[in-house]
Structure formats: C-alpha cells, structure tokens
C-alpha cells in the first residue's frame, strides 16, 4: 500500500466519473422530448472535477497533519536530548532509516523502538488513508453522477470553476512577490536584532567572517555595508560607461542611418549578446579580458592594478548590457513621430543635427528609462562579478582596485555551510533586501517614465 496506489486509484476514479457522466448525459440527450442544457462532455467534465477535488484536498491535509503528529510522537523517544535541533536530526534519521534511504542506524537507546513504532504506525496510517480517501471519492463520484439531469447546468458550473482557477493562477504572481518580500524581511529583521541598522547602512567596514574562538581580534565581525554598496555602484557605473555609448550610438545608427538590410542583419546579432548566459561572460572575463587588462596595466605602469579590479568586471558587465540599452533606446527613438523628423530635415538640418536636436530630446524620457533599466540589470547581475570581481570589501573609487558587490557577498555568504542563526548568513538576506528594493525602485521609475512618454505621442 503506497502513496502511488492512492494517486493512481484517484486518477482511475476521476476517469471513471468522466466517462460514466458523459455516457449518462449522452443517453439522456438521445431521449425524445428532452432538451439537455449542456453537452455530454461538460457533464463528464463536471463529474470528474467534482470527484477529484475533495480527495485532493484531503490527501494534502492528511499528509500535512500526519507528519507533524509523527514528529511529536517520535520526540517522546528522544526526550533525554535537550537540544531540539539534535532531536530533529534523530527524528529525520528514524524516518530515513525506515524509508530505506539511510542504512546506518543512529546510536541511541530508543532508536530501534522508534523505528519500529514509526514503521508500524506508518503502515496502518497508509492503509487507513487509502481506505478513507477512496471511499470518499467513490461517494462523491456517485453523488456527482446523480446530479446529471436535463436541466442541470454543467457547462456553467465547469466554466465557473475554470475562471476561478485562472483567477487564483494570476494571484499567484502576487504571492511570489509577497513570498520574496516576506522571506527577505524575516531574515533581515533577525539580522538587525544583532546588528544595528545604522551600522549596516552607514558603517564603512565590512568583514562578515566571524572567528571561531571567542575573544579573538575582530571576532564579532563587522557589518558596515557602505563599501559593498559603493563597489556595486562603481562596477555598474563602469558597465554603463561601456554600454551607454555603444548602445546609444548603435541604436541611433540602426534606427536612423542603416538600410533595412543592415538593420535586419545587425539587430539580431546584437541581441545575441543578451542571450549568452552570464556564466559565459564571467569565464570570458577570467580568461580573456582579465589577462588583457593586466598586460595593459603593466604596459602603462599602473600602480596597484588588481587582477580582480572593478575595471575588468565592469567592462564585461557592460558588454552584457549593450543589447538592453540598444534595443530599448531603439524602441524609444522609433516611437518619435516621423513628422517631427521630416520637419527638421525639411528645414535643412542634417540627419545628425535632427537626431541630436530633435529626435533625442523628443525621446529623452524613453532613453533615460532604458538607461535606468540597464543600470538596474547591472546592479542585480551576479555571475560576472562573482567570477571577475573580488570578495574583499574596499572602500575606493579607483577602478584599478578590487571591489566587491552586493551579489558577490550574497553568493559568498550563502554557498557552503550555513548556520541560520549567525549574523554572517543573515547579513546576506539584509543585502538581498536592499538589492531587491533598489532594483524595484529603479524598475518602477523607468517603467513609469517609459509608459508616460509613450502615451505622449499616441
């Protein structure tokens, strides 16, 4: 008796409801003097939906309740263990051992009796679960088949169910956002219980590594995130210095000067840059751009040129966001009414004068929006900086020095072993919280600007 058996029999019963319901409705509609409201297919569908729904809910509820009851009962066996985390570990060991996942028994007096208890009750529970759920489903199925009658509005009911499902699906998007905010918020609040908000936002020393022995120098770790923020801004700024001009001028050339054929050829190629995974850019930074800049550094005799310098990460990040700037700016430029452009050309202005003095001012909002969006993309980008930028937080504006970013810190703090009660791990959530809100605000501003501007010419 397994969970697969229950699920398979549920599917079987649902199919049974569908076909019998349809058959019954079909028989009904072939009678003389009877007009059936809905097609047989809808009657079948309604029966099937009604059949599966309560069983499905019950299955989930039961599984949820059973696991909590089991862990409470199992805890009785490990009463002597004071630390609840260790007891939880033992309980997990019992479940894994009984399930055959883990072959090694844990050395504890009550371990085997706990396993025996778990195995016997689990088996009984499964049988009981199967019987209850299958009987319930059979009853519901019979009930739903009884409902079928000429004036039964099966189609309307099915449609109501479908609409409701769609509505919940669309609410799910909000649930994701709430999930993001809450999951970040809880850990952030826990972080601020041990570190002051002001220290985090205005402190200039970031070294989250805690020493193992107490009383060691710097054992508390320090969480002044200013160097992390400035590092992020420095790298994103360098990226914009690369992507801004290239993206802007590409967009101008492709939308104003290029022939249709050049446009059809060049535009998709630039877009390919956006489709390349960021881990590939990171590797490119490590094997090509890094060595290239290092040699330039030696050639020009630049002091303190770091192999993890902001310049390397920033310029590769810039390559990645070229297509964002280019395509969004292109959209903005193309949205300017043709009449404005033609008017300027007719007055004798050259195309470059028209572009700089008429088209760009007219599409300024759109271009600004695209730059903001690209900037927010640069701030949130992870892999390139993880691979090309450093982990040490230096408070500097020198592009040749190594700096770190918010995303690098999050990855560094959360990969590897985690303890969820140390400020070190929790600080990653606080950083992510800042990152989320920063990008959110940038996105909202840029989307509003672009939308408002678009309406201007419509």
């Amino acid at each position: 008796m397994t969970i697969e058996f229950i699920i398979l029999s549920l599917i079987g019963l649902t199919a049974y409801s569908f076909f019998i319901g349809r058959k019954k409705a079909l028989a009904l509609s072939s009678l003389k003097n009877v007009t059936v409201h809905s097609q047989p297919y809808y009657h079948g569908l309604y029966s099937a939906l009604i059949t599966i729904f309560p069983a499905f809910i019950l299955l989930i509820l039961w599984s949820w309740i059973e696991s909590s009851i089991f862990s409470i009962n199992l805890r009785e066996y490990f009463k002597d263990i004071a630390d609840p985390a260790v007891a939880d570990f033992y309980i997990l060991g019992v479940i894994n051992f009984a399930g055959g996942i883990d072959e090694k028994a844990i050395n504890h007096v009550n371990f085997m009796s706990a396993v025996n208890y778990y195995e016997s009750t689990m088996q009984m529970n499964l049988v009981l679960k199967a019987i209850v759920i299958i009987i319930l489903t059979l009853m519901v199925s019979r009930y739903s088949l009884k409902l079928i009658a000429a004036d039964f509005k099966a189609r309307d009911l099915v449609e109501i169910i479908i609409i409701r499902v769609m509505k919940y699906a669309s609410i799910f998007a909000i649930v994701i956002t709430i999930g993001i905010v809450l999951s970040l918020l809880f850990e952030t609040i826990r972080f601020f219980e041990s570190v002051a908000v002001t220290e985090f936002l205005f402190g200039t020393h970031w070294s989250p590594q805690m020493s193992i022995r107490e009383g060691q120098v710097g054992s508390s770790g320090s969480f002044g995130a200013v160097p992390v923020f400035t590092g992020t801004l420095l790298i994103s700024f360098i990226a914009m210095l690369v992507a801004g001009p290239i993206g802007l001028f590409s967009a101008i050339y492709l939308s104003q000067y290029a022939s249709i054929n050049v446009r059809l050829f060049a535009k998709p190629i630039i877009e390919v840059l956006a489709g390349i995974p960021t881990v590939v850019y990171g590797f490119f930074a490590v094997i090509t751009v890094g060595p290239f800049f290092r040699e330039m550094g030696i050639f020009f005799n630049i002091d303190g040129f770091s192999s993890e310098s902001a310049l390397i990460a920033g310029s590769v990040l810039g390559i990645m966001i070229i297509p964002f700037v280019a395509s969004l700016t292109d959209d903005a430029l193309s949205a300017v009414p043709q009449s404005l452009k033609e008017g300027s050309l007719a007055m004798g202005a050259t195309l470059s004068e028209t572009t700089t003095r008429v088209i760009i001012p007219a599409s300024f909002h759109g271009i600004a929006g695209s730059f903001l969006l690209a900037f927010s993309r640069a701030i949130g980008e992870t892999m390139i900086v993880v691979m090309a930028a450093g982990f040490a937080a230096n408070l500097t504006a020198n592009p040749f020095n190594a700096v770190t970013t918010v995303t690098v810190q999050i990855v560094g703090l959360l990969t590897g072993d985690q303890e969820f009660d140390s400020p070190k791990t929790l600080s990653a959530f606080a950083l992510a919280f800042v990152l989320f809100f920063l990008t959110l605000i940038l996105n909202i501003i840029s989307l509003t600007i672009v939308k408002k501007y678009r309406e201007e010419y419509e």
């Binding site: 769609m166 990969t415 990008t439």
Partner: protein
C-alpha cells in the same frame, strides 16, 4: 560656405560613431565566441598512450588485478626502469582512467590471444603538453618534470601518443581528475530542472495571461497584478534563488541540491516572461474571430479555448522557449539552493542531488588544473549549442505557424 563643410564633416563623423558602435558590439561578440571555441575545441579530443599488451590464449584472468597487470605491461616496454621513483614517474603519465579502461578490456576478454598495441588514457598533464597548451621549456613542461619527460619522448619516438575522441566529456559525470570529468550528469540535472520549471510555469503562465487579457475587468486589482508581473520580470535572478532557499528548502524542507528545487525556483523566475509573452500573443488574435464565435452562441470560455488560445499558441510557445532558454543558462539562483556540490553520480530523478550545466561551468572554471580551462570552454560550447537549438526552434515555430491577419 565654411560652415556647410563643417556641418557635413560633423554629419560624417556622427554616422561614423554609429557604425563604430555597431561594429564594436559585433566585434565583441565575435571575439567572445572565437575565444570560447578556439579554447574549447581541443577538449573534444584526448591524449592516449599506446601500450603493448600481451595475453596468452585462454589465460585465466579472473585473478588478475587490472592495475598491477597494466603496470606490468607498461614496464615490459621499458626494461631499464628499475627503481621505485622511475616506476612512479612512468606510471604517472597514465590517468587512473587507464586502469578502468584496461579492466573493461579484461572483462571483454574471450580467451583469444591478445598481442598488440592498445591505447590507454593519459594524465591531464601529458594531455596539456601533447595538445600544445602547455609549452615545453627545456626538459620540462608545466607540471611535467624532466624525469617524466624522458618517457614522454620515448613514447613519442615510438609514435605511441595519439589524440582520440574524448568519450568522457559527453559520456561521464564530474570528476576531480580533468581527463575523466564530463558533463553528462550536469546535462541530466539541467534537463530535470528545466522539465520541472516548464511544468510549473507553463500552465500557470497561460492561465494568468488568459485571465488578465480576456476575463479580468479593468480595475485596481488587475492593475496591481499587471504592474507586479512587469516588476517581477526585472527582479534580479539571485533574489529568486533566495526565495527558493527560504521557501522550498527552509520552509517545505525539500532536499538540498535537488534539481526539483532548482526547477521550481527557475519556474518562478520564468513565470513573468511567459505571462508577458502569452498576453501579447493572445492580444494579437483578431477580435473578429472571437466575435464570430460569440455570435454563433459560444460562451466566453468556449471561445477562448476553441479559438483564442489555439491561434495564440505559436506566440505563446515562442515566448516560453525563449524563457526556458534563459532559465537553462541561469546560474545564480542554483548556487543559492545548493546545486553547486561536487556530484559524481548521474542523477536518476529530480529528487537526486545534481548540478546543472552552467553551474558545472562555474565549478570547472574555479578549478586550478590547467586542463579544466579547455573543458570549461567545451562545456560552454555544449550549452551555447543547446541555446542555439532552442532559439532556432522558436524562430522556426514563429515562421511556420505565424499567421498574418
């Protein structure tokens, strides 16, 4: 007059900047791809060393230790190798994989006489030297010592070092030894993750899109959902990783490193893309068709499922494929949910611990061995090939199924 010339010069200069920008962007792409391909192409071949193997007719091989037996065969080729350190240097030219290959050969032994040169996998250091990645300096090359170089020269003089197809790269899973490392496990992990991502985000995305486009009345509520989805599409992917970590791992207690969790996280990340693409596809279905359906007595839901949705399907599929392509290349959220472990086994299902292809690339580029550089590039080539195929499918679908109204 002077000013006209100046203005024309300025015009030319401006146009030149535009051409320069486009050319720079294209050039950067070409450099990137060229660098990856030129580094990675050599990883599809691997260095093998020929060893003279002699087994008599109907030998009893059941008690043979493959490691000792292969070493004995190698030693018979070099009768003057006597001391321990000499032997060690000679054996170190071979990979551990050579012994497995020999074991396999013994397993297939059918009693016939074996006498001839058979090729066995070389170590990564020799591989790098033979491919020319590590240059020879006097009698050493990279990590190869003069004492080892002696034997390499002997093998080379006998023409016994050869490049053969690297069956490990596409046929095996990760390994600490570069010459044995492959991406098959990572491909499986990626496959399961994308499958799960598709299963979660595709139906949800379509249902949301239909609701927002066709059923929701224009009010505050639908406005909030719409803004929310647009903003979700621009949330950094690493934040979705933290969401996955907090919800799926810490709250629901799903197994760490499993591709199930990776897939769910990627699914949440792709959902907004699919919704936005599906909405614009549904919007582009001409209202006249829907009105005709309504006019003939269909209900709104019947119209949607019989006409709007099938007609919008090419657009929806194109958007979904592009979203999935982005999810395949995504690394950061997978790092957050622990898919970065060193995993030797090929996962047999979405609940098993696994890595994904981009994560494998990330792990390899971090390895100190020189031989991992070309393998990283080769893994990137495979990843780019997948993405290329997906995008070609999307373009083909759009071309083939698109109707001009």
């Amino acid at each position: 007059m002077n000013s006209i010339i100046k203005r024309n010069q300025r015009e030319k200069r401006f146009k030149f900047y535009g051409i320069l920008a486009v050319a720079t962007a294209i050039l950067l792409l070409v450099i990137l791809l060229f660098k990856i391909f030129s580094t990675g192409i050599s990883a599809f071949n691997q260095t093998y060393i020929g060893v003279k193997i002699q087994i008599q007719v109907n030998s009893d091989i059941s008690n043979l230790d493959p490691r000792r037996e292969l070493r004995r065969n190698i030693r018979t080729m070099f009768p003057d190798v006597k001391t321990r350190s000499e032997k060690k240097n000679l054996y170190s030219l071979f990979s551990n994989g050579a012994y497995y290959e020999f074991e396999e050969m013994l397993d297939n032994y059918n009693g016939e006489k074996i006498d001839g040169y058979y090729y066995f996998l070389a170590s990564d250091d020799l591989d790098m030297y033979f491919k020319g990645t590590v240059k020879r300096k006097g009698n050493s090359a990279g990590r190869i010592q003069p004492s080892q170089m002696k034997y390499i020269d002997m093998f080379e003089n006998m023409n016994l070092i050869e490049l053969k197809y690297n069956k490990y790269l596409l046929g095996s899973s990760d390994s600490r030894e570069p010459e044995l490392a492959g991406i098959l496990g990572a491909i499986y992990g990626s496959f399961y993750a994308i499958l799960i991502a598709f299963i979660t985000s595709f139906p949800l995305g379509i249902l949301t899109a239909i609701y927002l486009e066709k059923l929701a009345s224009k009010n505050r509520f639908s406005d909030i959902i719409e803004t929310n989805i647009n903003n979700l599409a621009a949330v950094p992917s690493i934040v979705f990783g933290l969401l996955g970590l907090a919800i799926f791992l810490n709250f629901f207690d799903l197994p760490r490193s499993a591709s199930l969790v990776g897939g769910l996280t990627l699914g949440l990340m792709t959902l907004p893309t699919i919704v936005i693409a599906s909405r614009s596809a549904i919007k582009s279905v001409p209202p006249s068709i829907e009105e005709a359906s309504i006019g003939l007595g269909s209900s709104k839901i019947q119209t949607i499922f019989n006409f709007s949705l099938p007609l919008a399907m090419p657009g929806i599929l194109t958007g979904t494929i592009i979203g999935m392509a982005r999810a395949i290349g995504e690394t950061a959220p997978l790092l957050m949910i622990g898919m970065v472990a060193f995993i030797v086994d090929i996962p047999s299902g979405p609940m098993d611990a696994a890595t994904a292809l981009p994560v494998q690339i990330y792990l390899w580029q971090d390895s100190p061995e020189r031989a991992f550089v070309e393998r990283t590039s080769a893994a990137i080539m495979v990843l780019l090939l997948f993405l290329f195929l997906l995008n070609i499918t999307a373009v083909y679908l759009r071309k083939k199924l698109e109707k001009k109204w």
